[in-house]
């Protein structure tokens, strides 16, 4: 049984790993192939700082909150494993800042030690009157994607550097299931007006004295349009740009100045930080994540489709935050397809 995964960002690679882990012993003929036009370090996931943190509000989308929690708990379990450093996984504490009171987020009980900021802490951030402190996780794409790639390679998964132009292109060649993890480019394979770019830009600096993440919020401008500082293991990311509908991946001088000025106002010591890089990327934004299966038209046998697509895209600015929950959900969808195809000797145990 051949499965093609389209996309080699965090969603594609983790979905592939999750499916292989769960089904390779149950389906002896299982063969996984990853197709992508960009691999690490050139994917959107590589540009992200890697901080686990969902948006402020889940808009009642409990499913996504559950996937976020599954991801956090999964990563937390790996924190003490020998693989953690190679995965780019570590604990980090920090601040979320507001100019007005806000309700607690959906993730307050998922992260560690969530609390409101004390008045003395707020003195550090003039102009902000409210805030949160908590301990969360960093999962750096630059390390995590190569780690996932190694795990997959060890399992015999094959990689192809190819921009796939249609589902039929792969399904026609004998592939039974296609995993559509193409992020921002999903619209090229199947039009989706709900999927829009949320353009971001960041500056990478050397500021090793910064040990906390600091995310400011301007409720009027919307998520990520207010300065943020996220210290990684090798450099610190300065950001604060979210432009809905902007497809440009060019570095904008105006955005650079806006990020630099606002971050230096937030943390005056950053003025002395050395700039070591810049990047611009497109968050694959959607009102909610598209995670569902779709048949690929009629096959030769009546009532059995030629093939299936499992869509897993539209994770906006929280792909790393939600990735494992989505990978598990994609694996469940895969399991349901297997059950229908009666590929298994015995029925699957139902998964909660």
């Amino acid at each position: 049984m051949r499965v093609a995964i389209l996309g080699a960002g965090v969603i594609g690679l983790s979905s592939a790993l999750c499916i292989h882990e769960q089904f390779h012993s149950l389906v002896p003929s299982l063969e996984l192939e990853v197709y992508a036009d960009h691999f690490t370090p050139h994917t959107t996931s590589d540009g992200a700082a890697g901080l686990w943190q969902p948006y402020l509000s889940d808009h009642g989308n409990l499913q996504e909150t559950l996937w976020n929690k599954e991801t956090f708990d999964y990563l937390l379990r790996h924190l003490h494993s020998p693989a953690a450093k190679e995965m780019g996984l570590f604990l980090i504490s920090g601040y979320n800042l507001f100019t007005e009171p806000v309700p607690d987020p959906s993730w307050r009980n998922i992260v560690l030690g969530f609390r409101n900021l004390t008045p003395k802490e707020l003195e550090l951030f003039p102009g902000y009157s409210h805030g949160w402190f908590n301990t969360a996780l960093m999962l750096e794409g630059r390390s995590y994607l190569p780690w996932l790639t190694n795990r997959l390679t060890q399992r015999g998964v094959k990689f192809f550097h190819k921009k796939v132009e249609s589902f039929q292109e792969v399904s026609g060649g004998g592939v039974d299931v296609v995993l559509n993890c193409t992020g921002m480019r999903a619209g090229d394979l199947q039009p989706d007006p709900e999927l829009q770019p949320g353009r971001g830009q960041i500056i990478k600096v050397l500021a090793p004295w910064v040990k906390h993440f600091i995310i400011t919020h301007d409720l009027k401008s919307g998520i990520y349009n207010s300065p943020y500082v996220i210290p990684g293991s090798e450099f610190t990311v300065l950001g604060g740009i979210y432009q809905h509908g902007n497809w440009s991946q060019e570095i904008s001088a105006k955005d650079h100045k806006s990020i630099w000025d606002s971050c230096c106002r937030l943390l005056p010591a950053l003025q002395k930080a050395k700039i070591v890089g810049e990047w611009s990327g497109l968050r694959p934004a959607r009102p909610w994540v598209r995670l569902e299966r779709e048949s690929l038209g009629q096959g030769e046998v009546p009532a059995q489709p030629r093939g299936w697509v499992i869509h897993n895209y539209g994770h906006g600015g929280f792909g790393i935050t939600i990735h494992w929950g989505c990978a598990m959900a994609a694996a469940r969808l895969f399991g349901s397809i297997l059950q229908e195809k009666k590929h298994l000797a015995r029925p699957l145990q139902p998964r909660l």
């Binding site: 924190l79 570590f90 030690g113 802490e121 550090l124 402190f133 301990t135 004295w209």
Partner: protein
């Protein structure tokens, strides 16, 4: 006395910060720092520089709290300014964990550090051998940067610094009006203080930039303190041990203890081993004295014996020592008036 000449002996954290305070309280003073060692070769350079107070048995708690508060406030302002990275001052959050619940759940400094609270059960899961913990945010002074920054501030005031081993305070009486003794462990010899004893500490400085939080065992023996460029792993508290040579068995023991608190340290690189002798005393000696020899008087202000808690109280004791220097100046001026009458 137009321009009192003040000699500060010792150029570790206490010497430099005291000298700086003297220039602040007495701008007309001419201040000279004399020391056998300067950064990076002082005891202060070995320390991690964490602002977590040590309790001195014989110093009143309200005094220790005052010193800590003054120090924390002073450094907090620097950490929030454009100079933070040059001065090596930065905020760091983390946990102090205990294998058994401590007698004192709220230390005297809990309302001075930021966000102090007990750890949640979920947080304690990271430390299976520990049953109780405290989470808070405090400051760290990285050395050499902080000492070099103090030296730079001093030079800007016109103060001078010389490498010189002072074997006897009386060497200085002809050149200086007042001597400030900030010699740390050196005071054992220099002023014959037998109540001052070394508590040997060995530490490892490693490259592990993914470690962003501090972890400290409440017993004070095992700790992980992330600094700007390296993480300090500790440690030992060996009473009355004078050896400055690193011990390989101790190195392995420290590394193992720290890895059990933070397993990812197994991947740490570039291990450097350092040893310092904490200049330990039942109480910090911040005191005025007038030495007398053959009719000649030499005013001395002592500021030493900070043991394991130098960074936490340095600014507070420096300010108190500077006040004592002012008292010495007033006394000298009064006696020179008397002499004229």
């Amino acid at each position: 006395m137009a321009s009192p000449k003040v000699a500060v002996v010792g150029a570790g954290l206490i010497g430099l910060s005291t000298a700086l305070c003297v220039t602040e309280t007495c701008p007309s003073c001419s201040v000279t720092v004399l020391s056998e060692h300067f950064s990076p070769n002082t005891t202060s350079d070995v320390a991690a520089g964490m602002l977590i107070p040590h309790t001195y048995p014989d110093t009143p708690i309200h005094t220790q709290k005052q010193w800590f508060k003054e120090t924390f406030t002073y450094l907090f302002a620097i950490s929030n300014s454009a100079e933070a990275s040059e001065a090596g001052i930065h905020l760091v959050s983390g946990w102090q964990v205990f294998k058994s619940t401590p007698k004192e759940e709220l230390p005297f400094w809990s309302d001075i550090v930021l966000g102090f609270r007990p750890m949640s059960q979920a947080e304690l899961q990271k430390f299976p051998q520990h049953r109780f913990g405290q989470a808070f945010t405090t400051l760290k002074c990285d050395c050499p940067p902080y000492l070099l920054w103090l030296e730079k501030r001093l030079k800007a005031t016109g103060a001078q610094m010389f490498t010189r081993k002072v074997s006897d305070l009386w060497e200085l009486h002809s050149e200086y009006d007042i001597v400030v003794n900030c010699t740390g462990m050196g005071a054992h010899q220099l002023v014959g203080d037998k109540k001052l004893l070394p508590v040997r500490g060995q530490v490892l400085k490693v490259h592990a930039p993914w470690v962003k939080n501090f972890i400290r065992d409440g017993d004070g023996l095992t700790y992980i303190y992330p600094g700007i460029h390296w993480v300090t792993l500790g440690g030992t508290r060996e009473k009355e041990s004078w050896s400055l040579s690193p011990d390989p068995g101790t190195t392995k023991d420290i590394f193992d203890r720290c890895c059990s608190l933070e397993p990812s340290l197994q991947g740490a690189q570039d291990v450097e081993v350092k040893v310092g002798l904490r200049p330990s005393r039942q109480c910090v000696r911040v005191q005025r004295e007038v030495l007398s020899q053959g009719g000649v008087k030499l005013p001395v202000v002592h500021n030493y014996g900070h043991g394991a808690g130098g960074f936490s109280v340095h600014r507070g004791t420096a300010k108190e020592a500077a006040r004592l220097v002012e008292e010495c100046i007033s006394a000298l001026q009064a006696s020179s008036l008397t002499a004229k009458l």
